[in-house]
């Protein structure tokens, strides 16, 4: 290559190099000093969680889980008692996309006292974070399903294993169509006969 070609090449490389360096420096400075602070969101997220520190998410308490969700260490739907609606709210707050593929309606559960085994010790009543169990010493205990958020602490607490988690079945009022699954091609035109047993 002759001298003019070389000098042209050097000019080109030099110009691009300088430009790239300058722009890179600007980007680096901006990411350092212009980034949004994350700290105050942890409190907002914690306010959305049930707040009873049941530790089903794997963290010590709701505040720790909130901090983890904000930092991205935990998914917005890591709180089973919170249910799908809490997961959606947290995802909206954090600006994270939550995949609602209908699989988290693995049916929600509520606690249920098996009356034959209950001895009326009130240990579960004292443990329940939302006062969902009614009863008194030496009296039958029972769970109010509308107040139970399935944290599971009562199940562990009961000395006679009298409490089980039962799924909440859909009723005509709460049923809705499931998410369409990709269908395989229908094999033949004949369908299963409609039997009448």
């Amino acid at each position: 290559m002759d001298a003019t070609a070389l000098s042209h090449a050097a000019q080109a490389v030099g110009a691009i190099g300088v430009l790239g360096t300058v722009l890179g420096v600007i980007l680096g400075v901006a990411s350092r000093y212009l980034s949004t602070p994350v700290d105050d969101r942890a409190e907002a997220v914690a306010a959305l969680l049930p707040g009873s520190n049941c530790a089903q998410c794997g963290f010590a308490g709701c505040k720790q889980a909130a901090a983890a969700m904000v930092e991205g260490r935990a998914a917005p739907n890591c709180c089973p008692p919170g249910g799908a609606s809490t997961a959606q709210r947290v995802a909206d707050l954090l600006g994270v996309r939550l995949v609602m593929d209908g699989s988290e309606e693995a049916l929600p559960t509520v606690a249920w006292v098996e009356e034959a085994r209950c001895i009326g010790c009130t240990r579960c009543i004292r443990k329940c974070g939302s006062d969902a169990i009614v009863g008194a010493a030496k009296q039958m205990h029972t769970v109010l399903p509308e107040a139970c958020y399935a944290c599971g602490l009562c199940v562990a607490e009961c000395p006679t294993q009298a409490i089980v988690m039962k799924p909440v079945l859909p009723t005509l009022a709460t049923w809705h169509w499931p998410k369409p699954k990709p269908k395989p091609k229908p094999k033949t035109a004949v369908a299963t006969p409609l039997t009448t047993d």
């Binding site: 369409p180 091609k185 039997t195 009448t196």
Partner: protein, 361 residues
Amino acid sequence: MITMATRAGPFTHTVNSISRTMLWVMAALLPATAYGLWLFGWPAIFLLVITLATALVAEALMLKLLGQPVRARLADGSALLTGWLLALSLPPWAPWWIGFLGALVAIVLGKHLFGGLGQNMFNPAMVARIVLLISFPVQLTVWVAPAPLGSASAPSFSQALTYVAGQSTLPEHMSAATSLGVLKTEHSRGISVATTTEQLPPAAQLAMGREPGSMGETSAGLLLAGGLLLLTLRIISWHIPLAMLGTLATLALVSNALDPSRFAAMPIHLLSGATLLGAFFIATDYVTSPVSRSGQLLFGAGIGALTWVIRSLGAYPEGVAFAVVLMNAMVPLIDRGFRPRVFGRSRRGQSLDTQKPKIPL
């Protein structure tokens, strides 16, 4: 036996399907293609066959690789149509590897790497054409004068094989330039467009199409007929073709009136080049055009305007491919901004005012 339904209605369906649509589009292309094949002889037939075959094989391979149902997707005809449109836009006597590479680029790069059927952002045939044009400018700009099958100048079967194999170069006397090509080169040499236009065949002959160019550039009449067939069957709607042709025609008319020595007249713009093929078959491609009617109008107008700009002010003699691909890039934005008005809401999306005076019965 009580069964919970897993599938909601409706439990009736139109007879329309993807393959039916593709078949009709190919039927609409058939007259113009047959005419083009007759006009350019055996080399063109070979090129078409090679392009189509490569498109189908590439599609089958990619489907297999991606784990999708091969038989079902091949049968819907979309790969065949892509290859067909590509072949119509290439020089009819191009060597085999142009058609081969083009089909590969169209199917693999233009379609499957974007996600397969329905996911590509750019028209695959146009992507392939542009890639070929930029990579092999010589082969893509060598045009031949028509040598109809059975005429004296038509190459024989074996001769055509040699052309297609790239063994022999095209004879000097066969090569010719397209009308748009002539206009561009003469204008760059300083000769007025108006003067050049007089030397070109008249508009009527342009419409008949017996002149140099790709197979899809030739018969405007047959292409228009095919386009009207698709319109009647409601496979395409009038919005994109009308917007594109209308904008191109308007710009051509106005510019030609203002400066006839620089800008070509409207008939040349509309009847030569890939205008009609683009308006009815390429720009109307479902996947890469907007879904709402108002968006389609803007899309068509944009293609027409860009085509005129590239042809008149740019370096290339033909601009439809670039115009289409450029407007394809705008389609997501157009789809976002041009949604239809929702029933019961204003254009801005707010619920209609209930205080509005009622229309008395």
